[in-house]
């Protein structure tokens, strides 16, 4: 009966609210600090080191926020759906908190990828918007985030809200490969990916470095923001618990 091996890392340890709160209290400030440093370096590279593009002029500098926000919009959804799924399957309390903590940041990233894309599309394609598959599926991604938040907010019982929104998040996962592969599967106004896992990147090295620095900056910012929101959610949910009262009593 005792055949189940003990895992090396006790993951479920961090699914206890006080432990989660303690650990994220260390991680979130680190994430924000690194994001700020990388962001400063990335913006310096993007505007003062990388030269003007021969074809697109300076309008292409939007790439340094367009690509990071677009990647994060997709990636955060995958992580959010993972936690939502964990919450639905294992009923672990912090999983739903993580999913709910990620959603507004993901929505913000989806909006920003559309916004920066529109402002880049106008000078390079001649239009702000086109009902092309990549743009349309990214718009659907934004609506999935907003739907997740709205559905959760519409149900009073938190456990049921976690479950219903979690299932919605899981269903929405089908949209992710559509966004990612849309520019390969369909002939689209949007260009193909500049960076893939299997081929050499199709953009110049200084540009690539600046873009990757910005990707990591935005990534760490998203981690910091999602963890900070999750921490507030834990306190709100565990209001009656002794450890939260002790925290409020220590008047920080």
């Amino acid at each position: 009966m005792n055949a189940i091996p003990r895992p090396a890392i006790h993951w479920f340890h961090f699914s206890s609210p006080p432990e989660f709160f303690r650990l994220t209290g260390i991680l979130a400030p680190i994430a924000f600090s690194v994001a700020a440093v990388l962001g400063a370096i990335g913006l310096y590279l993007a505007f003062f080191v990388v030269p003007t593009d021969a074809v697109q002029g300076d309008a292409y500098r939007i790439i340094f926020i367009h690509v990071p926000t677009a990647w994060m919009a997709m990636f955060i959804y995958a992580v959010m759906a993972f936690w939502a799924g964990m919450g639905v399957v294992f009923n672990t309390r912090m999983s739903a908190v993580m999913a709910l903590g990620l959603a507004p940041t993901g929505a913000s990233m989806a909006f920003l990828s559309l916004w920066t894309g529109a402002l880049w599309g106008r000078p390079s394609w001649g239009t702000y918007w086109d009902w092309d598959i990549r743009m349309t599926s990214t718009l659907i991604l934004l609506f999935l985030y907003l739907g997740f938040i709205a559905l959760h907010g519409a149900i009073d019982d938190i456990r049921r809200a976690d479950r219903a929104a979690g299932i919605l998040a899981l269903v929405g996962v089908v949209n992710l490969p559509i966004i990612y592969f849309s520019v390969i599967w369909w002939n689209s106004l949007h260009q193909g990916p500049s960076i893939t896992a299997t081929k050499a990147p199709t953009i110049a090295t200084p540009m690539l470095v600046a873009m990757l620095v910005m990707v990591f900056a935005v990534w760490l910012y998203c981690i910091g923001a999602a963890l900070t929101r999750a921490r507030a959610l834990v306190l709100e949910r565990e209001r009656e618990a002794e450890w939260v009262r002790d925290l409020a009593g220590s008047a920080r």
Binding site: D58, R122, R231, L235, A248
Partner: protein, 47 residues
């Protein structure tokens, strides 16, 4: 150095409106999120 003057920097080779429109809203979104997160965290601690 890419820019001959600050004026040239803000003009962005004629694409200033697009570039700063994109970066401005990006900065604003992050600022709004940070401010609202701070307010929410404070309120959660006070209760």
């Amino acid at each position: 150095m890419n820019w001959e003057s600050w004026d040239a920097f803000w003009r962005m080779g004629g694409y200033g409106g697009y570039v700063w429109g994109a970066y401005g809203v990006f900065a604003l979104a992050i600022l709004v999120e940070i401010i609202s997160l701070r307010a929410r965290s404070r309120a959660a601690r006070r209760r």
